[in-house]
Amino acid sequence: MRFLALASRHRVMIILGLTLIISALAVPGYFSASTLGLGLDRAATIGLIAIGLTVLLVAGQIDLSGGAVFALAGIMSVILQREIGILPAAFVGILVGMLAGAINGALVVGLKVNSLVLTLATMLIFRSLAHWITNSQPVTGTDIMLSLAFAKIHLEIFTIRSALFIVLIVLLHVWLTRTIPGRNVFAVGSNPAAAKESGIASDRIVFLGFVFAGTLAGLAGVLQSLVTNTGSPVFGSELTVAVIAAVVVGGTRLEGGKGSALGTLGGVLTIGSLTIAMEFQSVPAYVQQVVSGLILILLVVLDRAVTTKGRAPGTGPALIRDNPITQGGNT
């Protein structure tokens, strides 16, 4: 059991290392700078959403609407290009993400309902809005050259997108570990009632967590749309499992109160390198989905087995539990 616990603590490194070794064996030339750069760029989309989700999961909440917000923000940033120019349109796209997050947060905090079910509903709403606005057709932007600028690789390995992701994850790490608001997020996630008693504004932190997650999903969607010069209402529909898997690989607990930015970085890199390896081997998309689903389930089960032995399910304080009776307050 001690070995298991040790392995569990360093599992991000172990899983990432194993993934890289297996990928390198299967794909010739895997460790070239261009392959890694490409992988990092692909991982950045998952990564940006994962940054927001890390904070939310630590605070004991979850957001399933990220993929839909991703599509909606991307569409707005492309559709408005003709009217107000590229930069303002991108800005509006991010604002849309922020607004979507604020709606999620306000409803969860205001109605005191389970964030899983609520964001499931808002996911449907945001996705419908995306279809509504675009008439279910992909929309294209005005400047095709812009995508080339975004795809350009700097310093041999970074694109604008992946550099942004790395910078943000470092900032998140500093924020979560070195600042008081960062620490408060952990307090809220591990025991919201106790956090409230000790003077932490739990509701506000949860609300801002949703805003943060929405903003980052919006940012990821805007960047994706700019890179492809296209906004589509079906963008991001397959992202949910991959993003949750990335965050969970990184050791962030679904029950809240535990998690780290560097873990998420490791998880995102793992999912990214795995995706690239499978794409190079032309594995069909549905097999890739099976793999990310399996990773998710295996890790959640492993996490259960190592960290909660002997504890009855549903006795903990966090908002997300297998027994949701503790949610929504005073039943």
Binding site: A130, W132, A312
Partner: protein, 332 residues
């Protein structure tokens, strides 16, 4: 129940709606009936096509396919299992396999095997949620992705067509003027209702969803009850998928997309508590009738699919919010 009895029945958790104001009581019991009536009135006002036998039969048939899933989903919600997101995968499993296996083993064994394999997906969900204690949404999302991927891989990601006219004839046929699919739905709904409201398993399900620790302390096999709810949903979805495949005589891997939302919407709009412990099959079916009629009227009215999804999403948020509000009132 008399008014006096209503006031004093606060100790019974399942009567939470009757503990609060009279208004909440009336709203929860008759509100949906009025809503259905309003939709019917509006529908017959807006479109002359609404009150035709053909249209109503269409509504009834499509309602039956979702309805079979709704019966299962009721068990998941009542047992406190939040929701089963693997429904699209189990429906696809039922549809693709019951068509794809026909040439090899015949229509009836193919259908049975398809439903059984769908049940297997439910068993995996159940074990993960009930026994391992994983969050239901994550578990069913993951298992659903895996299951759908495997089914897609099995048929190479293409569309499967049926080649047994007799089975198609049966699925599209009528008995005493009623479509067979509707009869199967009614049968399943009846069984579901009896199990949930009259059997020990139903009492256990309500108890587990109502108060997990208390049910566990009263020697209810809470883990099995929770796991069972997911198996029931998966079996129901498998049957629903099989019927869908037989009716359409073709099955794509994404055939079940959206059914999980339709089912959840119906159950939640029907007033089944999202946190478990309260609800019944007739309530869920009332919700289903309302949502289906509303969708039908929107279609006849020429409202676009995207807007329909938007309206359904708002309905879920509203219903969940109302559940939370009534819960609070019940305690106060």
């Amino acid at each position: 129940m008399t008014d006096a009895a209503m006031e004093t029945s606060g100790a019974n958790r399942n009567d939470r709606f009757t503990r609060g104001s009279r208004l909440a009581d009336v709203l929860s019991k008759a509100g949906l009936g009025f809503a259905i009536l309003a939709v019917v009135l509006y529908g017959s006002f807006v479109s002359p096509a609404f009150f035709t036998t053909g249209n109503l039969l269409n509504v009834l048939t499509s309602m039956s396919i979702v309805g079979i899933v709704v019966v299962g989903m009721t068990f998941v919600l009542v047992a406190g299992g939040l929701a089963d997101l693997s429904v699209p995968a189990t429906i696809a499993c039922g549809a693709i396999l019951s068509l794809g296996l026909q040439p090899m083993i015949g229509p009836v064994p193919a259908f049975v095997l398809a439903v059984a394999l769908a049940g297997l997906i439910g068993l995996l969900n159940g074990v993960l949620v009930g026994y391992v204690g994983i969050n239901p949404i994550i578990a069913t999302l993951g298992i659903g992705t895996i299951g759908l991927g495997i089914v897609q891989a099995a048929v190479g990601g293409v569309i499967v067509y049926g080649n047994n006219p007799a089975s198609a004839e049966f699925a599209k046929g009528r008995l005493f003027g009623v479509p067979v699919v509707v009869l199967i739905f009614l049968l399943i709904a009846l069984i579901g209702h009896i199990v949930l409201s009259r059997s020990f398993w139903g009492r256990w399900t309500l108890a587990t969803g109502g108060n997990y620790s208390a049910a566990e302390a009263s020697a209810v096999p809470v883990e099995a009850v929770k796991a069972g709810a997911f198996v029931i949903t998966a079996l129901a979805s498998g049957v629903s998928g099989g019927l869908l495949g037989l009716t359409l005589q073709s099955a794509r891997p994404l055939i079940g997309a959206g059914y999980e939302f339709s089912a959840i919407t119906a159950v939640v709009v029907g007033g089944v508590s999202i946190i478990g412990g309260f609800g019944s099959v007739p309530r869920a079916i009332a919700g289903l009738i309302f949502v289906q009629l509303l969708t039908n009227v929107m279609v006849l009215d020429g409202v676009r699919t995207a807007i329909q999804g938007f309206v359904l999403g708002i309905l879920i948020v509203g219903a969940v919010g109302m559940d939370a509000a009534l819960r609070k009132r019940g305690v106060a």
